[in-house]
Amino acid sequence: MSDVPLVIPPDASDSLAVLEKQRSTAETFGIPLAVLLEITHRCPLQCPYCSNPVELDRAGKELTTDEWKKVLSELAEIGVLQVHFSGGEPTARKDLVELVKHASDVDLYTNLITSAVLLTREKLGELADAGLCHVQISFQGIEEGLADRVAGYKGGHRKKLEVAKWTRELDLPLTVNAVMHRQNLHQLPDIIQRSVDLDADRLEVANVQYYGWALKNRAALMPTVAQLDECTRTVEEARERLKGRLTIDYVVPDYYALRPKKCMGGWGRQFFNISPAGKVLPCHAAESITGLDFLSVRSNHSIAWIWQNSEAFNRYRGTGWMKEPCKSCEFREIDFGGCRCQAFALTGDAANTDPACALSPLHETIFKQAEAEAEGETNRFLYRNFASGTLESENGG
């Protein structure tokens, strides 16, 4: 049986072809199976590696309840099968239960991607009754000292453990999402064990990807090569040991790789997300690339039209946009030149080869820089917020 992972994919597998077998994805771009809905950028946590853009959408710009419902109906109609309610913190929206109910009514499979700190047992019960299919809770570490420090939120870790328990009591499947970096990688074995103890079905071991907030915090987060090797060994051993008990999805950081990741499965090939303000984006970091005009669901175009025809989606689709060394590279349809956001952030041009690729002229420099930062002593975070970030105080917090 083929298995198409829908993890917000820094490194998506391409078995989508199974579901698209009558067409070549090189010719047409079928509607993605799953869509990420970032329904708000508001969040009580301040994680320094947040995947939201540095320029956050304020509450006043968010789509209304009716607008989101219309989006959900439209997504179901064009063939999307799953939606991820994400953010920011999706439970910060008062209409979340109503939105989940509507998604269920139009037969969408619903995932909640949450920090959990705002949830009550009652609210979680209402979400389950509304048809919620799956809950993913992020953890920042294994004990509250470090976890609450990373999240910039006192008492958060304890609350997450409580909500994880309620999730299983309500018979909802649980995914533990653990974002890993230099300051918490040593806790990975305990995080794996805790996931088993929490009766989670799935664990995402997601090494930080360095754009946006995480790029600003790279010196405080970048793991050493040795840490990363140890992490991979730990994951491989646990996967074997916990087969059938806990599924572990593993996202590696790409700075130390020779080949870049096939980011988003290729730009505009199998993924899009919708921002709080309704912009339809090829990836959640896409707005960091300047000079692209992303259309909104509030425009007079349908979502399917935006996906198929908009300039922003077509700009880096396929291989036609490539320059050397991508253009003549034998891997160009394997990795599509890596990540456009990373190429833009590190080289100033999104059409350049992602410096994570060994063929990029910048690869060596960036690898060395990452290595040096990983060995450095800079552990202070720049916390994520609407005010362009706040630097952690000298004594933490």
């Binding site: 049986m1 829908l6 018979d171």
Partner: protein, 103 residues
């Protein structure tokens, strides 16, 4: 709570898809799919037929009996294939043995 972990599928098992794995016909792509957390699985025709029979009441043996009769095929071969397919699904965490409340 969800069903037991580490399910070992045998002739006597009475498996069923858990609440979070939904078998559905995808009208857009004209294929059957199993929707699961962060996954879409594409079962083949035989798998779909087996899963439609797996209701938590029928045993794997009974499912195999039905398919053997329907296709006039050797039961032992069918049983082996059915167990292998269900075990694969169980190993991925998308099969349980306890009838759960429906959402």
């Amino acid at each position: 709570m969800a069903g037991p972990r580490n399910i070992s599928v045998s002739e006597a098992s009475r498996p069923v898809l858990p609440r979070h794995a939904k078998l559905k016909y995808d009208e857009t792509r004209k294929v059957w799919v199993i929707l699961a957390p962060e996954r879409v699985l594409a079962p083949d025709e035989i798998a779909v037929e087996v899963l439609q029979l797996c209701d938590g009441k029928r045993s794997v043996g009974e499912v195999s009996d039905q398919l053997a009769a329907k296709y006039a095929a050797p039961r032992e071969a069918i049983l082996t294939d059915v167990i292998a397919m269900l075990q694969d699904l169980a190993d991925k965490g998308f099969l349980t043995e306890i009838r759960e409340k429906t959402p």
